[in-house]
């Protein structure tokens, strides 16, 4: 019988209280301490008036107290809403308006949680079909999509993922992806209920922090995005290669990885299982590939995860024959029940437990899923999605610019996957702006990864009769390959 992640964690902590759950800098948190702190935080949240079904915003970077508050939110049946604390205040305010949180926990509030005396409450645990997490992800229009995930979604996904990766007791897993990111948070759940110890690292800032953490904690597992591995790979044998006999597995996700990078990882880590997942926040880790095992299918996303079905379908929604491209649909107990506060988008995306992913690809006779393209125009910079509309709006506000169109182009450095290239139409009677000036302008209003790194002035942008920018035509005109 399926049990929620917090229930599974509670049972594990009662059986193995001494086992190490979290490692963070000098600090070690045992499973027993983790459970005690989660219960203390749950009592605190209840006393602050948080009730089942209400939202708790976690507006803080990765740290043990984030983990305590996250599971405490689940324990009382409330909904955790992780947000990027480095995103602009206006964005976080907008999310706050949309979710009306009963409580917002910043890094300071989480630090205060650590000082509370231990308390125990009586919490029956959440209902499996209640919403556990509300994750905001970039939408094509720039308005973030709120993706609710139920306890059943999270628990089934975690058990399936652990079955694929083989996480087991004694593993030490490094999570350098922020916990407000679905990949980081999902890995935390999987590793903890699988009995592994989790090393929290403050993001993938500089590579030495990753290498040092692997060495210091004897990490056996590592997760990351392709842009991170592109940096780590540059150190070859003296970098990741130095841990070839220690790393049991690696999991990669959130963006496509170039074939040459996959092969470089295989050469460097011939005995490490190299997993890469394909999925969306709405249907996380729907397919997996293991590079060594699937060496003849490296250009695919692998096969559907256990309990998951992935199909290519035509425009009428009928399944395509094997090998024929179509829209990819995913089905399984991991699929979100539908978007937060957007019934129209929910109706267009979720049908009878299936999710229309927006990706185009095919499934071959052996079940390998191949991705051809994103159906939408999102740009993927180092695993972080950028909505071109948002960047275009900011650029078009510059006095020297009358119109802007942005597309993703391959990162010439071969690191971030894609970077943003902006095509601009000059405003009449205005002094021209330099690229540096445009980047400074954009950086004042956008997160760094959204700032274009390439600019090109054009006389017109391709538009529909109603004036909508046609980015596919722009890409074709300019010979841009995603």
């Amino acid at each position: 019988m399926t049990q929620s992640v917090i229930e599974a964690l509670r049972h594990r902590a009662e059986r193995q209280p001494e086992r190490t759950a979290l490692l963070y800098g000098e600090r070690r948190v045992s499973l027993g301490e983790l459970l005690s702190r989660v219960e203390t935080a749950a009592v605190h949240l209840s006393e602050r008036g948080v009730r089942p079904g209400e939202r708790v915003m976690l507006d803080a970077p990765s740290a043990p107290a984030f983990v305590f508050a996250y599971f405490a939110t689940h324990l009382i049946g409330a909904i955790a809403v992780p947000v990027d604390p480095s995103s602009p205040a206006s964005r976080r305010e907008e999310l706050s308006r949309r979710v009306s949180p009963a409580l917002t926990l910043t890094a300071d509030a989480l630090a205060a949680l650590e000082g509370l005396p231990a308390a125990r409450g009586s919490f029956p645990g959440p209902k499996l079909d209640a919403v556990a997490d509300l994750i905001f992800t970039t939408g094509t229009t720039g308005r973030p999509k709120g993706v609710p995930l139920t306890h059943r979604n999270l628990a089934t996904a975690a058990s399936h993922i652990n079955a694929v990766i083989g996480t087991c007791e004694g593993d030490v897993d490094l999570i350098p992806i922020p916990l407000y990111h679905a990949f980081g948070l999902g890995s935390l759940r999987c590793f903890l209920i699988g009995g592994a110890s989790v090393v929290l690292v403050q993001g993938f800032r500089l590579p030495g922090e990753i290498f040092a953490a692997i060495e210091r904690h004897g990490a056996t597992g590592l997760i990351g995005v392709p842009a991170g591995f592109a940096i780590l790979l540059r150190f070859e044998e003296r970098g990741l290669g130095a841990f070839a006999d220690r790393l049991r597995y690696i999991e990669i996700g959130s963006a496509p990885m170039p074939l040459e990078q996959k092969r470089a990882l295989m050469r460097l880590l011939p005995r490490t299982k190299l997993f890469m997942h394909y999925g969306l926040t709405e249907a996380g880790r729907s397919a997996f590939i293991e590079f060594h095992r699937d060496r003849d299918h490296l250009d695919t996303a692998g096969k559907a995860s256990p309990g998951v079905t992935v199909e290519a379908r035509d425009e009428s929604g009928a399944p395509c024959p094997a090998g024929t491209p179509g829209m990819l649909w995913a089905h399984g107990a991991h699929v979100s029940p539908g978007y937060w506060d957007d019934d129209e988008l929910t109706a267009a995306t979720f049908v009878n437990g299936w999710m229309r992913t927006g990706d185009v690809g095919h499934v071959d006779r052996a079940g390998y899923v191949a991705l051809h393209s994103r159906h939408d125009d999102l740009i993927n910079v180092g695993g972080v999605k950028v909505a071109p509309d948002e960047v275009e709006r900011v650029l078009a506000e510059h006095p020297a610019v009358s119109e802007a169109g942005c597309v993703g182009v391959p990162d010439p450095r071969g690191i971030a996957g894609q970077v943003v290239r902006a095509f601009l139409v000059a405003a009449a009677d205005q002094a021209p702006a330099s690229n540096a000036e445009l980047s400074r302008w954009a950086a004042r209003q956008l997160e760094p990864h959204k700032v274009p790194s390439q600019y090109e002035w054009v006389t017109t942008l391709p538009r529909t009769a109603s004036g909508k920018l046609i980015r596919a035509a722009l890409r074709a005109q300019k010979g841009v390959k995603a």
């Binding site: 800032r205 590579p207 030495g208 450095r413 690191i415 971030a416 540096a436």
Partner: protein
């Protein structure tokens, strides 16, 4: 200011686009957003070329690379130079 420090400052302006007016020895290069962390390898390559020494991968941390002063201090430990050199 020694030759390495001068060359480093010049490279940060010329190669990495730092504004010379606002770049002092303690300006935060990565945590302050001046340099994209994806470009760290270019900075490491510059340091290795200037010093003629390999930088151990475990040493590429914010503690060693987040400002001119930190890079210069790290360079001293790497080359075994005395603190007052």
């Amino acid at each position: 200011m020694n030759d390495f420090q001068r060359a480093l400052r010049a490279a940060l302006v010329a190669q990495f686009g730092a504004d010379p007016a606002s770049l002092d020895d303690d300006t935060k290069l990565f945590s302050g957003g001046l340099i994209d962390s994806l470009s760290v390898m270019d900075l490491v390559t510059f340091v290795e070329r200037e010093l003629g020494k390999r930088v151990p991968p475990v040493a590429i941390t914010l503690e060693n690379f987040d400002s001119i002063a930190q890079i210069v201090a790290f360079a001293r430990t790497l080359t075994g130079a005395r603190q007052d050199s």
